[in-house]
Symmetry: C2
């Protein structure tokens, strides 16, 4: 039996990846993190998605990245930008994907999973360093030397199937795999029921993706845009 | 001002590393983890050590590796072995050093630290995959591509100064740097006040180290050995 771990935020990308993993593995364990993000509608979306896709298990892990500060996604003192900025925006959470993948690796090792999926993308993205192909390659190399499973000859494989896709391609892939994007929340400042602002980086990339794919955007917005 | 992060368990190795870092940096932030380990005397030891060495800050981060299971250090159902075993023993905690270093990386990035110290050792050790030189190299490579600091040209350096030292060398280094080893706890099954069993892997390596260094072992034991 083939088991996969999927990092599931409840957003568009990770939901698409979960649907892809569901097609390719007997057993899919979704991992979400309560890491001090501003809103909990993201976790509610992850729960809906995990149920909707019939995933085997959905675990929510508490880690307090908020206490570290440094990001507008976890620090209420910082303002989420509404314009594309030069360089890496303040929505970047320090070492977030490294921390998430490290936990996924621990779960994968205990669950005897052969794969870890994550929905990072280096095309229509916000410029975070830990969303680039070099990052995935470096983490795979780490996995190859870091774990007990590796030592006994079965390396766990890090899979980032969206890495080189446009947002429109991702949406088409997800629709083909049966994803209901109305259930997902991508917005950096979604309200308590998951309605989106329509103006943050993440919303703008998502809106453009639906336009480019020629599909109707099922997202609910709380801000006129 | 130069800042270093040190992973501090309160054991012999990490305490030695903290003392070395204290000599080389203006500011040292120690990180300990409450990760579901069986006893809390380890964290009490880390606190004593941080105070004793005059470190700038000591942070304890809660992460529940225990919920993952798979190790006798976090799962009360599994027995800590009292004999050296073939292969990797059940005291191995899946992906522990990867998870700890991932957090240290986040803290380092936010604190603008230039170095992360950890006390792993590949000579007198228990055979864990994430205590080998390949692991340190792979994590350094990951750091080089994963963080914001790196992108703007200042990579954070992973330092494992004990990697190739014998336990006796480590003890000599620590004594020269002013470490009081009576304050440290290495035992896998220490009691609530930090007294050691004297029979687990970690105790046996420590006892041999003091013998080889020709120094008196200041450890308190609760088991005859």
């Amino acid at each position: 039996m083939s088991t996969a771990i999927v990092l599931l935020s409840g957003g568009l990308d990770s939901t698409t990846v979960a649907a892809v993993a569901r097609q390719q593995h007997d057993r899919v364990v979704a991992l979400s993190f309560r890491y001090g993000q501003r809103h909990s509608s993201e976790l509610a979306a992850a729960q809906r998605v995990a149920e909707g896709l019939g995933l085997h298990e959905h675990r929510v892990i508490d880690i307090d990245l908020g206490q570290l500060g440094g990001s507008s996604l976890t620090d209420p003192e910082l303002v989420v930008p509404e314009q594309q900025e030069d360089g890496i925006p303040n929505t970047y959470v320090p070492a977030r994907n490294t921390v998430f993948l490290a936990f996924a690796l621990a779960v994968a090792e205990v669950s005897q999973a052969d794969s870890i999926y994550l929905g990072i993308n280096a095309v229509d993205y916000s410029g975070y360093p830990d969303c680039r192909p070099e990052f995935v390659e470096a983490f795979q190399h780490l996995v190859n030397v870091a774990t007990k499973a590796t030592v006994s000859g079965q390396p766990i494989v890090i899979k980032a199937p969206l890495l080189h896709l446009t947002k429109a391609d991702i949406i088409r892939l997800g629709v083909a795999a049966g994803v209901d994007y109305a259930q997902t929340v991508s917005c950096y400042q979604a309200d308590s029921v998951g309605a989106a602002c329509g103006v943050c980086d993440s919303c703008r990339l998502r809106q453009q993706g639906f336009r480019d794919a020629g599909l109707t955007d099922p997202t609910r917005y709380w801000k006129k845009n």
